[in-house]
């Protein structure tokens, strides 16, 4: 059976940061697996500049950060397998990997690494309404991948559901890609994301309907595609108010209804998971990013969806902890490094959105068993 000092599952910002930080601290023989054709995860969709402070790359675009991380990984000799999903995970850290071959075929290999970082990210939530399975209804993130990575318009006239930052930013990027955003619909009474993003789309003339939801999507377009979207007003108990319907012509509906951590591999190793109001179901971990299974660490959205910067910092924590577990650095050296990373993480988890996540993280880590 194949082996490695460290197997990182997921080559997004968290996974790459974990691999890079482990390598910098002396860990050798590192493999990063990703089921996509390209490494970098969601970074390559993020054509906008990051917020925050200078040490958090404020003003840098996600795509540029992705390029930088891939360069660093290559210089450190980190191996990356693309088009390679971990499909099984059993026994004492045995991963079953469906390895993509250069000719496009797949080969199953088994690997028992000494340590593992699970950084499998999150996936988009769906919302159910009449016609939600109609072709043309998709996740906002999927639409973002189409325009920013594959340079394909998902449609011409788009109704966006959700005014969190994803809904707002993707709406703006869809317009930049030449699509018409018909309107943005939000079930809550107020806009969910940052005011600065909402102003941008409002200034561009996109109406935002708060206290509204999608009632029905009609699929009378070509090949049964979305042709019409009807929205309806909601009362203070979130119940639809008859007679407040508005109907728009549209060929696409994008759903920005939050993210759910991908936890299938976590569950296969009997790692303890808990429900958390801010993040949903997430694996329990400590301040080293270690899970309840020895030698298995988690980082990034798979431990609760946040943003690229927090994912990278969590990845670094995991990378340092792996180096410590494998004996490349002492306990004190690891702690020093982690303290610095935690200072930056605390800096990121501030403000109305960050504070909620900071508290949720404390609760999540508080569930870690003490020996």
């Amino acid at each position: 059976m194949l082996t490695r000092e460290l197997l990182v599952i997921g080559a997004g910002p968290a996974g790459l940061a974990a691999a890079i930080e482990a390598a910098k601290n002396g860990v050798k023989d590192i493999l990063v697996c990703d089921l996509n054709m390209k490494a970098g995860g969601q970074l390559f969709k993020q054509i906008h500049k990051f917020f925050g402070s200078k040490e958090h790359n404020a003003g840098v675009r996600g795509i540029d950060q992705g390029v930088q991380m891939l360069k660093e990984a290559e210089e450190l000799g980190i191996e990356i397998w693309l088009n390679s999903a971990v499909v099984g995970f059993f026994g004492d850290k045995i991963a079953c990997i469906e390895q993509g071959q250069p000719d496009g075929t797949k080969k199953i290999v088994y690997m028992q690494p000494k340590t593992i970082v699970i950084a499998t990210g999150a996936q988009e939530n769906v919302v159910r309404f009449k016609g939600w399975t109609t072709p043309g209804v998709m996740g906002a993130g999927a639409a973002q991948t189409m325009i920013n990575v594959n340079r394909v318009q998902p449609g011409k006239n788009i109704v966006m559901l959700g005014t969190g930052n994803v809904g707002l930013i993707v709406s703006y990027q869809l317009m930049q890609a030449g699509c018409n955003v018909v309107c943005i619909v939000e079930a809550a009474p107020g806009i969910g994301g940052y005011g600065v993003h909402a102003s941008k789309v409002s200034r561009a003339g996109v109406p935002i309907y708060c206290s509204h939801t999608i009632k029905e999507v009609k699929g009378d377009g070509p090949d049964g595609r979305v042709s019409e979207v009807t929205i309806i007003g909601l009362d203070e108990k979130w119940q639809p108010i008859e007679g407040t319907e508005k109907t728009f012509e549209a060929d696409t509906v994008t759903l920005a209804a939050g993210l759910k951590p991908v936890s299938d591999l976590v569950k296969l190793q009997d790692i303890e998971i808990v429900f958390n109001n801010a993040f949903g179901w997430v694996p329990v971990h400590n301040d080293k990013m270690q899970t309840t299974a020895k030698g298995i660490y988690v980082a990034g959205d798979t431990t609760g969806s946040e943003e690229a910067n927090t994912a990278m910092e969590e990845g670094k924590l995991a990378g340092v902890s792996v180096a410590e577990e494998l004996g490349y650095i002492t306990m004190d050296e690891a702690k020093d490094q982690r303290d610095q990373i935690w200072d930056r993480l605390r800096g990121l988890r501030t403000g109305p959105f960050g504070e909620k996540r900071a508290i949720a993280k404390v609760v999540q880590m508080g569930k870690f068993p003490v020996d």
Partner: protein, 92 residues
């Protein structure tokens, strides 16, 4: 009594409707795994990645319970579809 959205699909892979899930709950299912065993919701190609959340919502609404009670879907290997050919030629 039939309800307005009974015909709506929840699990696309296994073509399970809202009505079928409500029926399973009426028969005694009280969590995602119970609904899965009775209806196959979450047993298809995507292994419940899409419908898990929707099933949780329906159970919450029908039984007035929270996420801890509805639980999560069970996970089985392989977590993504693979071919028998690839499995047969696996290198141990």
């Amino acid at each position: 009594m039939a309800r307005l959205d009974d015909e709506m699909l929840v699990c696309r892979c296994e073509e399970v409707t809202v009505g079928e899930i409500r029926e399973a709950i009426a028969q005694g299912a009280f969590d995602v795994v119970g609904v899965k065993r009775r209806t196959r919701a979450g047993m298809g190609l995507c292994q419940g990645r899409t419908c898990e959340k929707l099933v949780q919502q329906i159970i919450s609404q029908e039984l007035h319970v929270g996420p801890t009670e509805t639980g999560v879907t069970s996970t089985r290997q392989p977590v993504r579809p693979i071919t028998y050919g690839a499995l047969a030629e696996a290198e141990w």
